[in-house]
Protein backbone atom coordinates (compact mmCIF):
# COMPACT_ATOMS: atom_id res chain seq x y z
CA UNK A 1 0.00 0.00 0.00
CA UNK A 2 2.77 2.40 0.92
CA UNK A 3 4.42 1.58 -2.37
CA UNK A 4 1.32 2.44 -4.30
CA UNK A 5 0.93 5.76 -2.50
CA UNK A 6 4.59 6.42 -3.11
CA UNK A 7 4.29 5.81 -6.84
CA UNK A 8 1.09 7.80 -7.00
CA UNK A 9 2.68 10.84 -5.37
CA UNK A 10 5.76 10.69 -7.58
CA UNK A 11 3.57 10.29 -10.65
CA UNK A 12 1.37 13.23 -9.71
CA UNK A 13 4.33 15.50 -8.94
CA UNK A 14 5.96 14.70 -12.26
CA UNK A 15 2.60 14.96 -13.95
CA UNK A 16 2.29 18.50 -12.66
CA UNK A 17 5.57 19.46 -14.30
CA UNK A 18 4.60 17.76 -17.54
CA UNK A 19 1.27 19.59 -17.43
CA UNK A 20 3.11 22.90 -17.26
CA UNK A 21 5.36 21.82 -20.11
CA UNK A 22 2.31 20.98 -22.20
CA UNK A 23 0.08 23.91 -21.26
CA UNK A 24 1.96 26.44 -23.37
CA UNK A 25 1.79 24.10 -26.34
CA UNK A 26 -1.92 23.72 -25.85
CA UNK A 27 -2.48 27.46 -25.54
CA UNK A 28 -0.59 28.25 -28.73
CA UNK A 29 -2.44 25.55 -30.63
CA UNK A 30 -5.77 26.81 -29.37
CA UNK A 31 -5.26 30.38 -30.50
CA UNK A 32 -3.15 29.95 -33.61
CA UNK A 33 -3.68 26.35 -34.72
CA UNK A 34 0.07 25.92 -34.74
CA UNK A 35 1.40 22.57 -33.60
CA UNK A 36 4.63 23.95 -32.24
CA UNK A 37 7.19 21.16 -32.39
CA UNK A 38 9.80 23.65 -31.17
CA UNK A 39 8.02 24.09 -27.85
CA UNK A 40 9.99 21.31 -26.10
CA UNK A 41 13.28 22.63 -27.49
CA UNK A 42 12.39 26.03 -26.06
CA UNK A 43 11.72 24.40 -22.69
CA UNK A 44 15.26 23.06 -22.87
CA UNK A 45 16.41 26.59 -23.68
CA UNK A 46 14.59 27.80 -20.57
CA UNK A 47 16.40 25.15 -18.56
CA UNK A 48 19.73 26.48 -19.85
CA UNK A 49 18.80 30.06 -18.95
CA UNK A 50 18.07 28.78 -15.45
CA UNK A 51 21.28 26.81 -15.43
CA UNK A 52 23.25 29.97 -16.21
CA UNK A 53 21.57 31.92 -13.43
CA UNK A 54 22.07 29.11 -10.97
CA UNK A 55 25.67 28.39 -11.76
CA UNK A 56 27.06 31.87 -12.31
CA UNK A 57 24.84 34.04 -10.15
CA UNK A 58 23.78 31.49 -7.56
CA UNK A 59 20.07 32.22 -8.10
CA UNK A 60 17.66 29.51 -6.98
CA UNK A 61 16.16 27.70 -10.00
CA UNK A 62 12.65 28.39 -8.72
CA UNK A 63 13.37 32.12 -8.65
CA UNK A 64 14.90 31.80 -12.09
CA UNK A 65 11.42 31.00 -13.40
CA UNK A 66 10.74 34.72 -13.71
CA UNK A 67 13.77 35.76 -15.80
CA UNK A 68 13.53 32.55 -17.79
CA UNK A 69 9.86 33.20 -18.58
CA UNK A 70 10.64 36.77 -19.60
CA UNK A 71 13.54 35.75 -21.82
CA UNK A 72 11.45 33.08 -23.55
CA UNK A 73 8.51 35.45 -24.00
CA UNK A 74 10.81 37.89 -25.79
CA UNK A 75 12.19 35.03 -27.87
CA UNK A 76 8.57 34.16 -28.64
CA UNK A 77 7.79 37.62 -29.97
CA UNK A 78 10.91 37.56 -32.14
CA UNK A 79 10.12 34.10 -33.52
CA UNK A 80 6.54 35.10 -34.20
CA UNK A 81 7.55 38.24 -36.04
CA UNK A 82 10.29 36.54 -38.05
CA UNK A 83 8.54 33.32 -38.97
CA UNK A 84 4.89 32.94 -38.13
CA UNK A 85 3.48 36.35 -38.97
CA UNK A 86 4.34 35.80 -42.62
CA UNK A 87 3.30 32.16 -42.47
CA UNK A 88 -0.05 33.00 -40.88
CA UNK A 89 -1.10 34.71 -44.09
CA UNK A 90 -0.06 31.94 -46.45
CA UNK A 91 -2.55 29.38 -47.68
CA UNK A 92 -0.79 26.15 -46.76
CA UNK A 93 -0.63 27.29 -43.18
CA UNK A 94 -1.02 24.07 -41.24
CA UNK A 95 1.21 21.70 -43.27
CA UNK A 96 4.08 24.11 -43.66
CA UNK A 97 4.08 25.44 -40.14
CA UNK A 98 4.61 22.02 -38.60
CA UNK A 99 7.72 21.52 -40.70
CA UNK A 100 8.80 25.06 -39.90
CA UNK A 101 8.48 24.44 -36.18
CA UNK A 102 10.43 21.22 -36.67
CA UNK A 103 13.23 23.13 -38.38
CA UNK A 104 13.05 25.70 -35.60
CA UNK A 105 13.43 22.93 -33.03
CA UNK A 106 16.55 21.72 -34.81
CA UNK A 107 17.96 25.24 -34.94
CA UNK A 108 17.35 25.77 -31.22
CA UNK A 109 18.94 22.41 -30.45
CA UNK A 110 21.97 23.21 -32.60
CA UNK A 111 22.35 26.64 -31.07
CA UNK A 112 22.17 25.23 -27.55
CA UNK A 113 24.72 22.60 -28.55
CA UNK A 114 27.08 25.27 -29.82
CA UNK A 115 26.67 27.37 -26.68
CA UNK A 116 26.59 24.68 -24.02
CA UNK A 117 27.97 21.46 -25.63
CA UNK A 118 26.15 18.16 -25.35
CA UNK A 119 27.07 17.51 -21.73
CA UNK A 120 24.14 16.45 -19.58
CA UNK A 121 23.33 19.24 -17.13
CA UNK A 122 21.21 19.57 -14.07
CA UNK A 123 20.83 22.37 -11.53
CA UNK A 124 21.37 21.17 -8.01
CA UNK A 125 19.68 23.33 -5.40
CA UNK A 126 19.75 21.75 -1.93
CA UNK A 127 16.12 20.63 -2.13
CA UNK A 128 16.75 18.69 -5.33
CA UNK A 129 18.45 15.92 -3.36
CA UNK A 130 16.36 16.19 -0.19
CA UNK A 131 13.13 14.45 0.71
CA UNK A 132 10.23 14.37 3.16
CA UNK A 133 9.35 11.16 4.91
CA UNK A 134 5.79 10.43 5.91
CA UNK A 135 5.85 6.98 7.45
CA UNK A 136 7.32 4.73 4.80
CA UNK A 137 6.51 7.09 1.99
CA UNK A 138 9.30 9.29 0.81
CA UNK A 139 8.66 12.38 -1.23
CA UNK A 140 11.61 14.02 -2.99
CA UNK A 141 11.40 17.73 -2.26
CA UNK A 142 12.54 18.78 -5.72
CA UNK A 143 9.79 16.92 -7.53
CA UNK A 144 7.18 17.92 -4.99
CA UNK A 145 8.05 21.61 -5.23
CA UNK A 146 8.18 21.45 -9.01
CA UNK A 147 4.83 19.69 -9.22
CA UNK A 148 3.07 22.00 -6.79
CA UNK A 149 4.51 25.15 -8.34
CA UNK A 150 3.56 23.93 -11.82
CA UNK A 151 -0.03 23.26 -10.87
CA UNK A 152 -0.26 26.57 -9.04
CA UNK A 153 1.08 28.41 -12.05
CA UNK A 154 -1.37 26.65 -14.36
CA UNK A 155 -4.21 27.52 -11.98
CA UNK A 156 -3.05 31.14 -12.16
CA UNK A 157 -3.07 31.04 -15.95
CA UNK A 158 -6.51 29.43 -15.94
CA UNK A 159 -7.86 32.16 -13.66
CA UNK A 160 -6.27 34.79 -15.85
CA UNK A 161 -7.94 33.26 -18.92
CA UNK A 162 -11.25 32.98 -17.12
CA UNK A 163 -11.52 36.43 -15.58
CA UNK A 164 -9.20 38.99 -17.15
CA UNK A 165 -10.19 40.99 -20.18
CA UNK A 166 -7.18 39.72 -22.10
CA UNK A 167 -8.13 36.20 -21.02
CA UNK A 168 -11.61 36.70 -22.45
CA UNK A 169 -10.07 37.82 -25.72
CA UNK A 170 -7.73 34.81 -25.83
CA UNK A 171 -10.51 32.34 -25.12
CA UNK A 172 -12.82 34.01 -27.60
CA UNK A 173 -10.13 33.94 -30.30
CA UNK A 174 -9.55 30.24 -29.60
CA UNK A 175 -13.21 29.41 -29.99
CA UNK A 176 -14.21 31.62 -32.87
CA UNK A 177 -11.52 33.80 -34.35
CA UNK A 178 -13.80 35.60 -36.77
CA UNK A 179 -16.45 36.44 -34.19
CA UNK A 180 -13.80 37.68 -31.78
CA UNK A 181 -12.47 40.02 -34.43
CA UNK A 182 -15.97 41.30 -35.15
CA UNK A 183 -16.42 42.12 -31.48
CA UNK A 184 -13.36 44.33 -31.41
CA UNK A 185 -10.54 41.91 -30.63
CA UNK A 186 -7.31 42.56 -32.51
CA UNK A 187 -6.71 38.89 -33.21
CA UNK A 188 -3.24 39.32 -34.62
CA UNK A 189 -2.17 40.99 -31.40
CA UNK A 190 -3.84 38.22 -29.43
CA UNK A 191 -1.86 35.69 -31.46
CA UNK A 192 1.43 37.37 -30.59
CA UNK A 193 0.48 37.67 -26.94
CA UNK A 194 -0.61 34.05 -26.75
CA UNK A 195 2.54 32.88 -28.45
CA UNK A 196 4.65 34.90 -26.03
CA UNK A 197 2.61 33.65 -23.09
CA UNK A 198 2.97 30.06 -24.32
CA UNK A 199 6.73 30.45 -24.50
CA UNK A 200 6.84 32.18 -21.12
CA UNK A 201 5.24 29.02 -19.76
CA UNK A 202 7.91 27.02 -21.59
CA UNK A 203 10.57 29.15 -19.93
CA UNK A 204 9.04 28.70 -16.49
CA UNK A 205 8.71 24.97 -17.08
CA UNK A 206 12.35 24.89 -18.14
CA UNK A 207 13.40 26.25 -14.75
CA UNK A 208 11.55 23.49 -12.91
CA UNK A 209 12.72 20.86 -15.36
CA UNK A 210 16.32 21.91 -14.75
CA UNK A 211 16.40 20.22 -11.34
CA UNK A 212 13.84 17.47 -12.00
CA UNK A 213 15.41 15.93 -15.10
CA UNK A 214 18.93 16.12 -16.42
CA UNK A 215 18.93 17.87 -19.77
CA UNK A 216 21.00 18.30 -22.91
CA UNK A 217 20.25 19.98 -26.23
CA UNK A 218 18.75 16.89 -27.91
CA UNK A 219 16.54 16.07 -24.92
CA UNK A 220 13.51 17.70 -26.54
CA UNK A 221 12.96 14.96 -29.12
CA UNK A 222 11.58 12.59 -26.54
CA UNK A 223 9.48 15.39 -25.10
CA UNK A 224 7.74 16.02 -28.42
CA UNK A 225 5.73 12.79 -28.45
CA UNK A 226 5.45 12.88 -24.68
CA UNK A 227 3.86 16.33 -24.59
CA UNK A 228 1.81 15.64 -27.69
CA UNK A 229 0.26 12.57 -26.11
CA UNK A 230 -0.61 14.55 -22.99
CA UNK A 231 -2.03 17.53 -24.83
CA UNK A 232 -3.93 15.42 -27.32
CA UNK A 233 -5.40 13.17 -24.66
CA UNK A 234 -6.68 16.24 -22.85
CA UNK A 235 -8.14 17.78 -25.99
CA UNK A 236 -5.81 20.11 -27.84
CA UNK A 237 -6.34 23.73 -26.86
CA UNK A 238 -7.83 23.01 -23.44
CA UNK A 239 -5.46 23.72 -20.58
CA UNK A 240 -7.55 21.90 -18.02
CA UNK A 241 -7.57 18.90 -20.34
CA UNK A 242 -3.81 19.09 -20.60
CA UNK A 243 -3.50 18.92 -16.82
CA UNK A 244 -5.77 15.89 -16.64
CA UNK A 245 -3.94 14.20 -19.52
CA UNK A 246 -0.57 14.87 -17.91
CA UNK A 247 -1.56 13.59 -14.49
CA UNK A 248 -3.22 10.44 -15.83
CA UNK A 249 -0.42 9.44 -18.19
CA UNK A 250 2.29 10.37 -15.75
CA UNK A 251 0.78 8.23 -12.97
CA UNK A 252 0.49 5.31 -15.39
CA UNK A 253 4.08 5.90 -16.46
CA UNK A 254 5.17 5.91 -12.81
CA UNK A 255 3.60 2.51 -12.23
CA UNK A 256 5.07 1.17 -15.46
CA UNK A 257 8.45 2.54 -14.47
CA UNK A 258 8.43 0.91 -11.05
CA UNK A 259 6.87 -2.39 -11.90
CA UNK A 260 8.17 -3.06 -15.38
CA UNK A 261 11.32 -1.01 -15.74
CA UNK A 262 12.45 2.59 -15.80
CA UNK A 263 13.15 2.63 -19.55
CA UNK A 264 9.56 1.71 -20.29
CA UNK A 265 8.00 4.61 -18.43
CA UNK A 266 8.54 7.10 -21.29
CA UNK A 267 7.23 4.44 -23.63
CA UNK A 268 3.87 4.83 -21.91
CA UNK A 269 3.46 8.27 -23.45
CA UNK A 270 4.51 7.19 -26.93
CA UNK A 271 2.25 4.17 -26.95
CA UNK A 272 -0.61 6.31 -25.66
CA UNK A 273 -0.15 8.47 -28.73
CA UNK A 274 -0.52 5.44 -30.99
CA UNK A 275 -3.55 4.21 -29.10
CA UNK A 276 -5.17 7.62 -29.56
CA UNK A 277 -4.37 7.38 -33.28
CA UNK A 278 -6.07 4.01 -33.43
CA UNK A 279 -9.24 5.13 -31.71
CA UNK A 280 -9.40 8.61 -33.24
CA UNK A 281 -8.84 8.28 -36.98
CA UNK A 282 -10.10 11.84 -37.47
CA UNK A 283 -6.68 12.93 -36.26
CA UNK A 284 -5.02 14.00 -33.09
CA UNK A 285 -6.35 17.50 -33.19
CA UNK A 286 -10.05 16.93 -33.66
CA UNK A 287 -11.86 19.22 -35.98
CA UNK A 288 -10.09 20.91 -38.80
CA UNK A 289 -8.80 24.39 -38.09
CA UNK A 290 -11.30 27.00 -39.15
CA UNK A 291 -10.81 28.45 -42.56
CA UNK A 292 -9.05 31.78 -42.66
Amino acid sequence: MAEIIQILILGLALGGVIALMGSGLSLVFGVMHIVNLAHPALIVAGAYVTFLGFRYLGIDPILMMIPSAIVMAVVGVVIYKLIFEKEARSAKYSEMTVLLTFALAMSVEGLLGVLFTNTHRVTSPAYATDAFFIGNVFIPKGQLYAGVISLTLIAGVALFLKYSRLGYAIRATTQNREAAELLGVNVNRISIISFALGLALAGAAGSLVSFVFSFFPAKHWEWIPMLMSVVVLGGMGSILGTVVGALVLSVIAAFVGTWIGATWSTMTFFLALFVILLVRPQGLFGEKPEMS
Partner: protein, 242 residues
Amino acid sequence: MTDLLQVTNITAGYGDGPAILDGAHLTVEPGKVHCIIGPNGAGKSTLLKSICGMLSIRKGDVIFKGERLNGLRPDQILRKGICFVPQERALFPKMTVRENLRMGGFTLDDSKELDRRVGEIMERFPILRERADQFAGTMSGGQQQTLAMARTLIIKPDIIMLDEPSLGLAPKIVQEMFDIMKMISDEGVTVLLVEQNALMGLRNSDYGVVLDLGRTLFEGPAPEVLADPRIQELYLGGKKAA
Protein backbone atom coordinates in the same frame (compact mmCIF):
# COMPACT_ATOMS: atom_id res chain seq x y z
CA MET B 1 -29.83 65.09 -44.21
CA THR B 2 -26.46 63.38 -44.66
CA ASP B 3 -26.27 59.66 -45.20
CA LEU B 4 -24.86 57.58 -42.38
CA LEU B 5 -23.08 55.12 -44.62
CA GLN B 6 -22.27 55.45 -48.27
CA VAL B 7 -20.88 52.60 -50.34
CA THR B 8 -19.80 53.66 -53.79
CA ASN B 9 -19.06 51.29 -56.66
CA ILE B 10 -17.03 48.76 -54.77
CA THR B 11 -15.24 45.74 -56.18
CA ALA B 12 -14.25 42.95 -53.81
CA GLY B 13 -13.62 39.21 -53.66
CA TYR B 14 -11.95 36.46 -51.67
CA GLY B 15 -8.15 36.28 -51.74
CA ASP B 16 -6.92 36.35 -55.33
CA GLY B 17 -10.23 34.95 -56.53
CA PRO B 18 -12.64 36.59 -58.94
CA ALA B 19 -14.49 39.71 -57.92
CA ILE B 20 -17.79 38.79 -56.28
CA LEU B 21 -18.83 42.41 -55.96
CA ASP B 22 -18.37 44.51 -59.02
CA GLY B 23 -19.82 47.96 -58.84
CA ALA B 24 -22.09 47.59 -55.82
CA HIS B 25 -23.36 50.72 -54.16
CA LEU B 26 -25.49 51.41 -51.16
CA THR B 27 -26.83 54.36 -49.21
CA VAL B 28 -27.83 53.87 -45.62
CA GLU B 29 -30.13 56.29 -43.85
CA PRO B 30 -29.87 56.66 -40.11
CA GLY B 31 -32.43 54.90 -37.92
CA LYS B 32 -33.98 52.86 -40.70
CA VAL B 33 -34.04 49.15 -41.50
CA HIS B 34 -32.52 48.31 -44.87
CA CYS B 35 -32.98 44.91 -46.41
CA ILE B 36 -30.62 43.59 -49.08
CA ILE B 37 -32.16 40.92 -51.27
CA GLY B 38 -30.96 38.98 -54.26
CA PRO B 39 -30.40 35.42 -55.43
CA ASN B 40 -27.71 33.08 -54.08
CA GLY B 41 -24.25 34.22 -55.03
CA ALA B 42 -25.38 37.76 -55.76
CA GLY B 43 -22.79 39.11 -53.31
CA LYS B 44 -25.08 40.03 -50.40
CA SER B 45 -22.89 38.56 -47.65
CA THR B 46 -19.79 39.72 -49.48
CA LEU B 47 -21.11 43.27 -49.36
CA LEU B 48 -21.53 43.14 -45.58
CA LYS B 49 -18.09 41.54 -45.18
CA SER B 50 -16.45 44.27 -47.25
CA ILE B 51 -18.12 46.96 -45.18
CA CYS B 52 -16.97 45.47 -41.88
CA GLY B 53 -13.37 44.94 -43.01
CA MET B 54 -13.32 41.16 -43.34
CA LEU B 55 -12.58 41.47 -47.04
CA SER B 56 -10.28 43.98 -48.60
CA ILE B 57 -11.92 46.32 -51.05
CA ARG B 58 -10.24 46.42 -54.43
CA LYS B 59 -12.00 49.47 -55.82
CA GLY B 60 -14.53 51.99 -54.58
CA ASP B 61 -15.13 53.49 -51.15
CA VAL B 62 -16.96 52.84 -47.94
CA ILE B 63 -17.70 56.18 -46.28
CA PHE B 64 -19.09 56.20 -42.78
CA LYS B 65 -19.99 59.55 -41.15
CA GLY B 66 -17.79 61.22 -43.73
CA GLU B 67 -14.81 58.98 -42.98
CA ARG B 68 -13.30 56.45 -45.35
CA LEU B 69 -13.21 52.95 -43.85
CA ASN B 70 -11.30 51.12 -46.60
CA GLY B 71 -8.38 49.07 -45.29
CA LEU B 72 -9.36 49.12 -41.62
CA ARG B 73 -9.52 45.85 -39.70
CA PRO B 74 -12.86 44.52 -38.41
CA ASP B 75 -11.99 45.38 -34.81
CA GLN B 76 -11.21 48.96 -35.84
CA ILE B 77 -14.42 49.29 -37.81
CA LEU B 78 -16.41 48.00 -34.85
CA ARG B 79 -14.94 50.76 -32.74
CA LYS B 80 -16.15 53.27 -35.33
CA GLY B 81 -19.67 52.02 -34.72
CA ILE B 82 -20.49 49.31 -37.26
CA CYS B 83 -21.25 45.88 -35.85
CA PHE B 84 -21.59 42.77 -37.98
CA VAL B 85 -23.40 39.60 -36.92
CA PRO B 86 -22.25 36.93 -39.38
CA GLN B 87 -24.30 34.04 -40.64
CA GLU B 88 -24.59 30.85 -38.58
CA ARG B 89 -24.23 32.04 -34.97
CA ALA B 90 -21.30 34.22 -34.20
CA LEU B 91 -20.94 32.77 -30.74
CA PHE B 92 -18.22 31.29 -28.55
CA PRO B 93 -19.67 27.84 -27.95
CA LYS B 94 -17.61 27.01 -24.90
CA MET B 95 -18.14 30.28 -23.11
CA THR B 96 -21.23 30.80 -21.01
CA VAL B 97 -24.08 33.00 -22.14
CA ARG B 98 -22.97 35.65 -19.66
CA GLU B 99 -19.40 35.50 -20.96
CA ASN B 100 -20.68 35.78 -24.52
CA LEU B 101 -22.59 38.89 -23.55
CA ARG B 102 -19.52 40.32 -21.86
CA MET B 103 -17.55 39.67 -25.06
CA GLY B 104 -20.18 41.80 -26.79
CA GLY B 105 -18.87 44.71 -24.77
CA PHE B 106 -15.22 43.90 -25.26
CA THR B 107 -14.52 47.41 -26.47
CA LEU B 108 -15.87 48.99 -23.27
CA ASP B 109 -13.11 49.83 -20.85
CA ASP B 110 -15.31 50.21 -17.78
CA SER B 111 -15.98 46.78 -16.32
CA LYS B 112 -18.71 48.06 -13.91
CA GLU B 113 -20.56 49.64 -16.78
CA LEU B 114 -20.22 46.43 -18.77
CA ASP B 115 -21.75 44.41 -15.93
CA ARG B 116 -24.61 46.87 -15.72
CA ARG B 117 -25.35 46.61 -19.43
CA VAL B 118 -25.09 42.82 -19.44
CA GLY B 119 -27.64 42.84 -16.59
CA GLU B 120 -29.87 45.15 -18.61
CA ILE B 121 -29.82 42.86 -21.63
CA MET B 122 -30.65 39.88 -19.47
CA GLU B 123 -33.63 41.82 -18.07
CA ARG B 124 -34.92 42.31 -21.57
CA PHE B 125 -34.25 38.78 -22.74
CA PRO B 126 -35.34 36.51 -19.90
CA ILE B 127 -34.23 33.40 -21.77
CA LEU B 128 -30.65 34.66 -21.62
CA ARG B 129 -30.88 35.27 -17.88
CA GLU B 130 -32.28 31.79 -17.42
CA ARG B 131 -29.34 30.29 -19.29
CA ALA B 132 -26.74 32.76 -18.08
CA ASP B 133 -24.26 30.18 -16.80
CA GLN B 134 -24.79 27.62 -19.50
CA PHE B 135 -22.38 27.17 -22.43
CA ALA B 136 -23.70 29.03 -25.46
CA GLY B 137 -23.11 25.98 -27.64
CA THR B 138 -25.69 23.98 -25.73
CA MET B 139 -28.61 26.27 -26.58
CA SER B 140 -31.09 25.85 -29.41
CA GLY B 141 -30.57 27.58 -32.74
CA GLY B 142 -33.16 30.28 -32.02
CA GLN B 143 -31.72 30.98 -28.59
CA GLN B 144 -28.23 31.22 -30.04
CA GLN B 145 -29.40 33.68 -32.66
CA THR B 146 -31.19 35.67 -29.96
CA LEU B 147 -27.95 35.82 -28.01
CA ALA B 148 -25.95 36.88 -31.07
CA MET B 149 -28.38 39.70 -31.82
CA ALA B 150 -28.98 40.79 -28.24
CA ARG B 151 -25.23 40.93 -27.70
CA THR B 152 -24.90 43.78 -30.18
CA LEU B 153 -27.10 45.99 -28.00
CA ILE B 154 -24.44 46.07 -25.30
CA ILE B 155 -22.38 48.59 -27.19
CA LYS B 156 -25.31 50.07 -29.12
CA PRO B 157 -23.41 50.72 -32.35
CA ASP B 158 -24.65 53.12 -35.00
CA ILE B 159 -25.20 50.34 -37.52
CA ILE B 160 -25.90 46.65 -37.01
CA MET B 161 -25.46 44.39 -39.98
CA LEU B 162 -27.30 41.08 -39.79
CA ASP B 163 -26.44 38.29 -42.23
CA GLU B 164 -29.48 36.04 -42.59
CA PRO B 165 -30.58 35.92 -38.98
CA SER B 166 -33.40 33.55 -39.94
CA LEU B 167 -31.13 30.94 -41.52
CA GLY B 168 -31.94 27.42 -40.44
CA LEU B 169 -34.62 28.45 -37.97
CA ALA B 170 -38.19 27.19 -37.75
CA PRO B 171 -40.77 29.60 -39.28
CA LYS B 172 -42.30 30.34 -35.91
CA ILE B 173 -38.94 31.39 -34.51
CA VAL B 174 -38.09 33.42 -37.57
CA GLN B 175 -40.76 35.96 -36.63
CA GLU B 176 -39.16 36.24 -33.18
CA MET B 177 -35.87 37.18 -34.84
CA PHE B 178 -37.60 39.91 -36.80
CA ASP B 179 -39.17 41.11 -33.57
CA ILE B 180 -35.74 41.36 -31.99
CA MET B 181 -34.55 43.22 -35.04
CA LYS B 182 -37.46 45.64 -34.63
CA MET B 183 -36.49 46.07 -31.01
CA ILE B 184 -32.93 46.93 -32.03
CA SER B 185 -34.24 49.38 -34.59
CA ASP B 186 -36.51 51.02 -32.04
CA GLU B 187 -33.42 51.79 -29.98
CA GLY B 188 -32.45 54.12 -32.80
CA VAL B 189 -29.89 51.72 -34.26
CA THR B 190 -29.68 51.57 -38.03
CA VAL B 191 -30.10 48.04 -39.36
CA LEU B 192 -28.66 46.55 -42.50
CA LEU B 193 -30.18 43.16 -43.13
CA VAL B 194 -29.36 40.46 -45.64
CA GLU B 195 -32.26 38.12 -46.09
CA GLN B 196 -32.82 35.09 -48.26
CA ASN B 197 -36.54 35.21 -47.57
CA ALA B 198 -36.98 38.40 -49.57
CA LEU B 199 -40.69 38.95 -49.00
CA MET B 200 -40.45 38.59 -45.28
CA GLY B 201 -37.31 40.70 -45.11
CA LEU B 202 -38.79 43.55 -47.13
CA ARG B 203 -42.06 43.56 -45.17
CA ASN B 204 -40.04 44.14 -42.01
CA SER B 205 -37.88 46.88 -43.52
CA ASP B 206 -38.04 50.53 -44.49
CA TYR B 207 -35.77 50.30 -47.50
CA GLY B 208 -35.01 47.57 -49.97
CA VAL B 209 -31.85 47.01 -51.99
CA VAL B 210 -31.70 44.52 -54.84
CA LEU B 211 -28.30 43.06 -55.52
CA ASP B 212 -27.44 40.69 -58.35
CA LEU B 213 -24.25 39.61 -60.10
CA GLY B 214 -22.27 41.74 -57.69
CA ARG B 215 -23.93 45.03 -58.49
CA THR B 216 -26.80 47.07 -57.10
CA LEU B 217 -29.84 46.97 -59.35
CA PHE B 218 -32.31 48.91 -57.30
CA GLU B 219 -32.48 50.94 -54.13
CA GLY B 220 -35.63 52.42 -52.71
CA PRO B 221 -38.37 52.33 -50.10
CA ALA B 222 -39.37 48.77 -49.29
CA PRO B 223 -43.00 49.11 -50.49
CA GLU B 224 -41.76 50.32 -53.87
CA VAL B 225 -39.43 47.35 -54.16
CA LEU B 226 -42.26 45.04 -53.21
CA ALA B 227 -44.54 46.62 -55.78
CA ASP B 228 -42.11 46.66 -58.71
CA PRO B 229 -43.32 44.04 -61.18
CA ARG B 230 -39.87 43.23 -62.56
CA ILE B 231 -38.44 42.70 -59.11
CA GLN B 232 -41.47 40.61 -58.24
CA GLU B 233 -40.92 38.44 -61.24
CA LEU B 234 -37.17 37.96 -60.84
CA TYR B 235 -36.49 38.12 -57.13
CA LEU B 236 -39.69 37.64 -55.21
CA GLY B 237 -40.63 34.27 -56.60
CA GLY B 238 -42.87 35.71 -59.32
CA LYS B 239 -45.78 36.28 -56.96
CA LYS B 240 -48.20 38.90 -58.13
CA ALA B 241 -48.91 41.49 -55.50
CA ALA B 242 -52.26 40.61 -54.01
